[in-house]
Symmetry: C2
Subunit: 414 residues, 2 copies
């Protein structure tokens, strides 16, 4: 590991390596599938006008505006009621001049009618038979002009209008708008496909009891979760021993199936040669950070490849610091980024290495003020317990050895 670089350099190099992933293919996805949080690939036009047909905005009476023009409080106009139109399939009969038709919200306005008088502007409705039967006359106490309470076809959306812009991250109200326009399929950015390759002869899957010298493969499920939370998907997940031939086959398959190959482990002296030999186009580096120092980046089988350390805490920190926002950007999602917080207690940190400590929110904050954060656990990279309790990573710069309570720090949300 000749290469020694700082965190920002490695971040920039990873971003550059993965920049071509942002040129995503599009895929058509049915609206009823799980589209929430996915990204619209290109502007989506309305296939037709909305409303599709002239309909009533209110419960009331469809009329010719000129027939009720004179109506006002004290000067009512009474019209015979020729029928009733509900929001239901079918075309209503045309309106005869000098008559009204009872109409429901959303129901088609009959040809010949050009206004709807809301029920609130009528009075003295008489009925043919029992109350509740069809009305026979209606007394209008307030006239309405042509077009009032009538929704014209296309008045909301014209055919071809853009309903969803390229880049929209889909939320329920976008689904509502698309469904209202009769859009059944959406062009979405295909998620980046990531291969998660856990290396290490000591690893056993979660459903097996480890024997002596064995540990569970935490990085498989954990990085799969991290990849999915970043809007990408896992195209292959495999755990391989430190065996050159098995590793070679796994990496070949990973590069064939996925856009990005991500390995964990194989950075200790024992396993290092195996992983290094299998990844001749990867540069292995020591990044001046803790945890997560041993990193690698390059290519395998023509695909971009990153190597993370095998410790589960180191691997998660590596993902957050180096990959999360790059992966989100490639998939069209905004960055999670970093925030600012105020330390709840003093922190000491070794000289020369940037520390990413696990932190937990400590109480609220005044309006607009940074939140307080308490460091949990020590700097050891094996502290799974503190990772489970953490809300953020607290970023202590390389040159800093002590920070007092109240100091402002940069934090990475988990």
């Amino acid at each position: 590991m000749a290469d020694r670089v700082d965190v920002e350099q490695h971040r920039a190099d990873v971003a550059e390596l993965l920049a071509p992933l942002a040129d995503r293919p599009h895929e058509e996805v049915a609206l009823h599938q799980d589209v929430l949080g996915r990204v619209v690939a290109r502007d989506v036009p309305a296939p037709g006008a909305l409303p599709r047909f002239r309909n009533s905005q209110m419960d009331g009476f469809a009329v010719r505006a000129e027939d009720v023009a004179a109506a006002a409080p004290g000067v009512p106009v009474t019209l015979p009621v020729a029928g009733e139109v509900a929001a239901a399939p079918g075309r209503p009969a045309p309106l005869e001049p000098g008559t009204a038709v009872r109409i429901m919200t959303g129901a088609p306005v009959p040809a010949g009618a050009d206004a709807v008088v809301p029920v609130e502007d009528t009075d003295h409705v008489t009925f043919n038979g029992a109350a509740g039967g069809p009305a026979s006359t209606v007394t209008v106490v307030r006239g309405r002009g042509a077009g009032e309470y009538v929704r014209e076809p296309g008045s909301d959306v014209a055919a071809g209008d853009v309903v969803l812009r390229a880049g929209t991250v889909l939320a329920p109200h976008h689904v509502a708008a698309a469904a209202a326009c009769g859009i059944t399929r959406l062009p979405l950015l295909a998620p980046v496909s990531v291969a998660v390759v856990s290396t290490g002869s000591e690893l056993v899957p979660a459903d097996r009891e480890p024997g002596p010298g064995q540990v569970w493969d935490a990085n498989g499920p954990a990085l799969e979760a991290a990849v999915r939370a970043a809007g990408a998907r896992v195209g292959l997940r495999v755990s391989v021993p430190d065996d050159p031939e098995i590793l070679r086959v796994a990496l070949e398959r990973a590069a064939a199936l996925c856009d990005l190959v991500l390995t964990t482990g194989g950075v200790s002296q024992g396993a290092y040669e195996v992983v290094k030999d299998a990844l001749p186009e990867v540069t292995f580096r020591s990044v001046a950070m803790q945890p997560g120092g041993p990193q690698g980046l390059g290519r395998v089988g023509g695909r971009p490849a990153l190597t993370f350390p095998g410790n589960p805490v180191s691997a998660q920190v590596s993902f957050v610091v180096f990959l999360r926002d790059v992966l989100r950007a490639a998939g069209g999602l905004p960055p999670v980024g970093r925030g600012t917080a105020v330390l709840d207690g003093a922190v000491t940190s070794p000289q020369g290495r940037r520390q990413l400590l696990r932190g937990r929110w400590a109480g609220g904050a005044a309006d607009g003020a940074p939140r307080r954060v308490a460091v949990v656990g020590g700097p050891g990279s094996h502290l799974v317990a503190s990772m489970a309790a953490a809300d953020v990573l607290v970023d202590v710069p390389a040159g800093t050895t002590t920070l007092d309570a109240g100091a402002e720090v940069s934090v990475w949300p988990l």
Copy 2:
């Protein structure tokens, strides 16, 4: 609709009606399933200690601390190297006093060894054969005390320690911690199950071309998306015409299958009686808001029931204002809540009704200052186009008729 209430009253009534849903059943879910964003139902203890066995924190040499106690720069101690231990299955042979064993990070520390000397603190490693073959002696230039760089079993997590607290909303780092501890199943809160019943004879499903007088059922897919985004699930989704018998059967099934019954439509005069008759235990109200005024709440088949208006914009606004945070709370999730923004332009609003206008973020904000928001579209409840373009709902109080540019408003994130 005798009842006329304001928005906060209806919000409070809905919250009270649905409060019993917060007493959620638990369910065991495999860690490899999609657990992200779900809520841990009870404290999850570690099934065993972590680390599971005594292992090395560094690449280096396992020794008896007393054998290297005298080592210092200029005063080296040379030990024969008896072998090598990798991170791999199996138990290493015990360490003979006065010898060293080469050891890799994560590898089991041999019985008899009580310290690891990192490779950086050694020098002049000699080899039996070719370079890269097994080392035969190692020269230690810095002594290490008993316990240094040795991870004791349980030093990170003891068996029975709480790994994940009840109430944790699962993120990737929680999956990492659980997987590292060998936890394969998690006790999670069962999501609230919601029945989405769209009513209206005019509705056709999205994959059918509407005939005269017909419209697509947007609320089915849109409310399903909203329910899922709030951490709940849709247990039944059905679209029914304004037919008393079909509606009765659908509601019966909805109440039998789900925790909450949500209907849309049926609030116009035409369909009203049908929906009202099918829901005798629901109180129908006019809430002083636009859109979304016609609301109902009560029970059907012993289950809590809410009725939303049928217009897709009104239904989405109803969900955000009345149901979203209540549903999230029932499932153990924090509220989305409301934020504050500054109007980008003047807004006029009718007297007497609280307006929920569609708003779009307009540019950034200075640190800590509220963001600027521009109102899109008018107050009409049928404006699907403006809903598609919106980021937030802008909340204009009932008593306010004009707001100047720069005025601070409450906003509901979409």
